[in-house]
């Protein structure tokens, strides 16, 4: 143990910085599975390098050690301004208040994009910003641990952060090669630190002149490389073998119920949420649109195409960064014979706030959106990576598909479609195949079967009710629910849509369910001669879509009294144009038949931030966090005091420890002077009222004498015997009690919560120290 820490040279610090940078750069690689492409890595590496090497440069300029992290934070801010500030900054580097506004937007965008995107995520600017900021902050933390605290072993703490994230999001987690690389670069940092420390301490030993060491002139350095590589290699191999042979203890075993599924929800069925929302009173406006020629399409938000367990759910597909909305893909299965026409629709979303954009299916392009929006390959639904629909104003070009009945009836086997649209669970209630068989038996083609199913569900036997399923205990879209629904014959759009979709699959027709809005209610207001249509939460709806080869996905409307039945799907359509069943006009029927929706909560389900639902819990957690943060200084001080008392008990330079504690207590309370000889400090505090009591004063003087004897006495002075040390501790306690008693309540509080002695300790930290242990 050396009393004074060796000072590192600029080259040594540069070596440590380089090793830190390598470690950080490899650690960020762990995020690879989560984020598409690799440009983000270069960005993160650039930010990390900027921060770390700026720190090295500052230290080379002999900036005070405690200041360097602060200046590094400034450098990080400048880098972020350079990369993201754009035109709001001065000289590309100096942020302005506008820049901070921009950062705030980017940051909230990043929160949204983390909540909304599934992996691999597209690097929208907000995500890049969050990555750069996070990596920058971690780099500063790493720098503090490595260079200021000189505890490189704890560099593992900031580095583990990017490594933990993938495990929570993707099943496989971080790949083994990356982990091995991270471990290797961590060991590299340790090795560099050992070498740097050794050479620095060697200089120190040479300077202090206690012993003269005549070193050999030259020593092959490379020969120690083998040992380093050997130890590191064996360690990593042993670790890999241990990890491979450790049995997996599932979290459910430990926690009873899996906490993952509640905290990190993936693919939750939106049906239950929809049902809850349908039973809410008070319609709220969702959006309005202008469409020429009386065009009244349904607006799809998202498409449910598979069973997750027992319920319908949306396939969890990652956003494809190439699928930008200015050129959307062609609808699946649509062939040139089918008549199509394009209709522009201008949409203004006012209140609804979801990550899914209401667009008619199919659409060809969308213009005027804010933020990053991408379309899904098959369903052509549009979702955002970093923003939501609130306040969006966009023009969508809808492709109207007008198949004839002959085309539908003539559709061949649906071989061109993914098999999952036909998947059904193994065990389903008996009533479903029975119903499907009876409906399919009377008709020839798939189209006829579909029309028969729709007619069956629209028959007077079935009644629309949002309350009955809840009372009957069969809310939702699962199979048990469908079975119950077929018996009770009461339900709402969810039940009708899922029943039709299941019956269609049972009959061999690929099907899926779309959730969105019906066409809404026209208002009297006109803009440029076009009637404006208002869509509110009453228009929230679910409907089935069936696939016909050559035509693609065709919507049906099995819910009685809701939406409009497409012309092609009416029984007898195409045979006798005059025989038409009564059409359910758009948004008709009594208000009681329309579900009441709260659009705010409507479809946030699939990828919502779980914390938004529990605001109060978050506040409590925030408060707890703030309290924990605020109590760090106090805890540090308490710990320090305990350590010093332990030193007194164990006789490890006990007099010094007692005196340090006394001086620190005095400094906390703002009494006396913080530094100087024991005699000076003692005389500076002796005048305080606390020391009028002769006992206290004597105790303080005993402390002073003890430390003087220890510091200035002969070198080989032995530690006092245990009784004396005990007395020392008692003296210390007595003096501390007296000083606390003497101080005002405010001073006492300040001493407990924000001990000044800690600050002075930090400020006194010299530039860079070579650590001893970790």
């Amino acid at each position: 143990m050396h009393p004074d820490q060796p000072v590192l040279t600029a080259a040594q610090r540069l070596g440590l910085t380089a090793a830190s940078f390598v470690l950080m750069a490899t650690a960020i690689m762990a995020l690879g599975p989560l984020i598409a492409s690799s440009a983000w890595w270069w960005l993160c590496a650039f930010v990390s390098a900027g921060v770390l090497f700026a720190g090295a440069g500052l230290r080379a300029l002999r900036v005070r050690g405690a200041l360097v992290p602060l200046l590094e934070a400034v450098v990080l801010l400048m880098l972020l301004t350079l990369l993201f500030g754009g035109s709001t900054s001065l000289l590309f580097l100096v942020p302005t208040p506008e820049t901070f506004g921009l950062f705030g937007e980017l940051f909230s965008g990043a929160q949204r994009t983390i909540a909304q995107q599934s992996v691999p995520a597209v690097t929208v600017p907000a995500l890049s910003f969050a990555l750069a900021l996070g990596v920058g902050v971690l780099s500063i933390l790493l720098d503090i641990l490595v260079q200021v605290a000189r505890r490189p072993a704890f560099a593992a703490v900031p580095v583990i952060v990017p490594l933990l994230i993938p495990g929570f999001i993707v099943e496989t987690g971080v790949g083994l090669p990356v982990l091995v690389l991270v471990a290797a670069s961590y060991l590299l940092l340790l090795r560099v630190d050992v070498r740097v420390n050794r050479s620095a301490r060697f200089e120190l030993d040479r300077d202090d002149g206690i012993a003269t060491v005549t070193a050999p002139r030259r020593v092959p350095v490379a020969s120690t490389l083998g040992a380093s590589l050997g130890v590191a290699g064996v360690g990593i191999v042993v670790a890999s073998m241990l990890a491979a042979s450790t049995p997996s203890i599932s979290s459910s075993l430990l926690l009873g119920t899996g906490s993952q599924s509640t905290l990190f929800a993936r693919g939750v069925s939106p049906f239950i949420d929809l049902g809850k929302d349908l039973r809410r009173p008070e319609p709220r406006p969702a959006f309005r649109y202008l469409a020429r020629d009386g065009d009244r399409p349904n607006f799809t938000l998202l498409t449910l195409d598979r069973f997750e367990g027992d319920v319908w759910s949306v396939a969890d597909r990652p956003v494809d960064g190439d699928n930008t909305v200015d050129a959307m893909g062609a609808p699946v299965g649509l062939e040139a014979e089918v008549e199509t026409s394009e209709h522009p629709i201008e949409v203004l979303v006012n209140e609804v706030r979801t990550t899914w954009l209401p667009v008619p299916y199919p659409s060809t392009r969308i213009d005027g959106l804010q933020g990053s929006w991408f379309w899904d390959d098959e369903s052509l639904t549009v979702r955002s990576a970093d923003t939501n629909t609130a306040g969006q104003r966009y023009e969508v070009t809808r492709l109207e598909v007008e198949p004839t009945v002959e085309q539908l009836r003539g559709a061949g086997s649906s071989a061109g479609i993914d098999g999952r649209y036909l998947e059904l669970p193994e065990e389903i209630p008996e009533i479903i195949p029975a119903t499907a068989a009876s409906l399919a038996s009377g008709s020839g083609s798939a189209y006829d079967t579909a029309v028969a199913i729709q007619a069956f569900l629209r028959s007077p036997e079935f009644a629309y009710s949002t309350e009955a399923p809840v009372e009957g205990g069969y809310d939702g879209g699962g199979f048990e629910v469908i079975g119950s629904f077929l018996e009770q014959k009461q339900g709402y759009c969810v039940h009708f849509a899922s029943t039709m979709a299941v019956l269609a699959r049972e009959a061999g027709i690929p099907s899926r369910i779309s959730i969105g809005y019906t066409s809404g209610s026209p208002t009297t207001e006109r803009v440029d001669g076009v009637q404006r249509v208002e869509v509110d939460s009453h228009d929230l709806h679910a409907w089935p879509e069936l696939y016909f080869e050559g035509v693609g996905w065709v919507p049906f409307e099995p819910t009685p009294g809701r939406g409009s039945v497409p012309a092609y799907s009416r029984p007898g359509a195409g045979q006798s144009p005059t025989s038409v069943l009564p059409t359910g006009p758009a948004s008709t029927t009594a208000p009681s038949g329309r579900p009441d929706l709260d659009p705010d909560r409507g479809f946030a389900g699939p990828a919502s931030d779980p914390f938004t639902n529990s605001g109060s819990w978050r506040v409590v957690a925030l408060l707890l966090g703030v309290a924990a943060l605020l109590s760090i200084p106090a805890l540090t001080r308490v710990l320090q005091r305990a350590m010093r008392h332990r030193r007194i008990r164990r006789g490890d330079r006990s007099a010094d420890a007692a005196w340090q504690e006394f001086v620190a207590t005095a400094a906390d309370l703002g009494i006396g002077i913080a530094s100087g000889t024991p005699r000076a400090i003692a005389s500076s505090v002796a005048g305080r009222p606390a020391f009028r009591d002769p006992d206290t004063s004597a105790a303080m003087l005993r402390l002073r004498d003890a430390v003087e004897r220890a510091r200035f006495g002969p070198d080989d002075v032995v530690e006092p015997p245990p009784q004396a040390r005990h007395a020392l501790a008692d003296d210390l306690r007595a003096v501390r009690r007296a000083m606390l008693h003497d101080a005002g309540a405010r001073d006492r509080l300040a001493a407990a919560l924000l001990p000044r002695s800690l600050v002075e300790r930090v400020v006194r930290v010299p530039g860079v120290r070579a650590g001893g242990g970790a």
Partner: protein
Amino acid sequence: MPRPRTHPTWPRLTRRGIALMVVGVLMAGVSLWFDLRDILVLAFVGVAMPVVAAVFVALRRPRLAVQREFAPAVVPAGESTRVSLVVQNRGTRTLDGAHWRDRAPEGALAPPETLLPALGPYEAVLPSGDDRVRVEYRLRMPRRGVFPVGPLRIGVQDPFALAGVERDAGAAHEVLVTPRVTPLSEALATAASIDGVVHGLQRRNHPNSDELIAREYRYGDPLRRVNWPATARRGELMVREEEQRGDPEARVLLDVPTGARSGLAVHHERSPEVDERFELAVEVAASVGVHLLEHGFRLRCTSITDHERGLGPSAPFDGSYRMPGGEHLLLEDLARVDAAAHRGRADDGRAASEVRTRGRDAREPGFAVLADPSQADAGALVALRPSFEPAIAFVTATVSSVVRQMLEDADWNVVTVRRTSDLDGAWTAIASTAVRDAS
């Protein structure tokens, strides 16, 4: 003197190794709790690396040759000696990441743990010196005694400083620390009071003074040595004193405390105070002895309990020293006197030695130095009293009043010495009283 304990050479984790292990265990906990299999690899790296490092340092034992030299090899207490070490790597691999610490005796300040520069592999042919390092430091020896310095502790750490092991290299070497000698004024040596012996000494210095050749006849002197002219002049029987010419003798009796004493509880455990008094006694004995030797005396220095034999196994058999070179031998033997080790000798010493007066011998100056004598010791001194003239007992503060009384009753001149600086004054005072008594 406590033997250096043999430290176990088990590898120990450094603080960094412990920190890494704690981090690893925490990470393993986190990864099992949240079922993050991927992190488990890193967690086990944290757990396994310190263990692998410990195994590494345990298996890889360096082969070192250590030479140690002291300059000077015999040091007076309180002075320092320069310790030179040459550490040579005898292994075929480079030794790096090592630090050294010399094991110094209790009370001496060895340099703190210092880095050992990297040593190249052993050069059996064409030695260029890259396989050896030379280390020098000063070691201050505060106390008298024979102290082993070393063996060298070589601590080796693994390349990542996660674990380390300390091993002994080479052997311990003894450094001899002699007691401090306080110069004494010449008062006693020139005092005429000291019987015959000193006269002889002085006659050697002044060979022409005829008067001082003869002395009074004492019982046992052979008749052929009667100096008739002097007898005629003085009117009483005088004898020549040829044999003792140039060969005056003095006795120093040192009280070496032994543990095997009954009756006094304080002796069962040696208190630091008694040790300190004993050190003072040794210093007094050394100062007196060197003073006497320098002034031409032949000196016999023995312990009280065993007053026929020398102080230690290395001392001359009957404990006699003479110039030239005698003072070095005396100091070295006094350096080796060890109160604790003496205990073993005490029993047979006591059994063998009865208190005999050497009535036949001429009376010689006797100096007893007492630190903590038992009554038996005092009795021995009382019995020896007749053969000494003058008989002076230097006693330290720990000597009990009973002993003191016994000695005074037997006409010992008891002088209290509390610290070394008192010695010169006490010596001068003795000389003047002796002169006064004689006059």
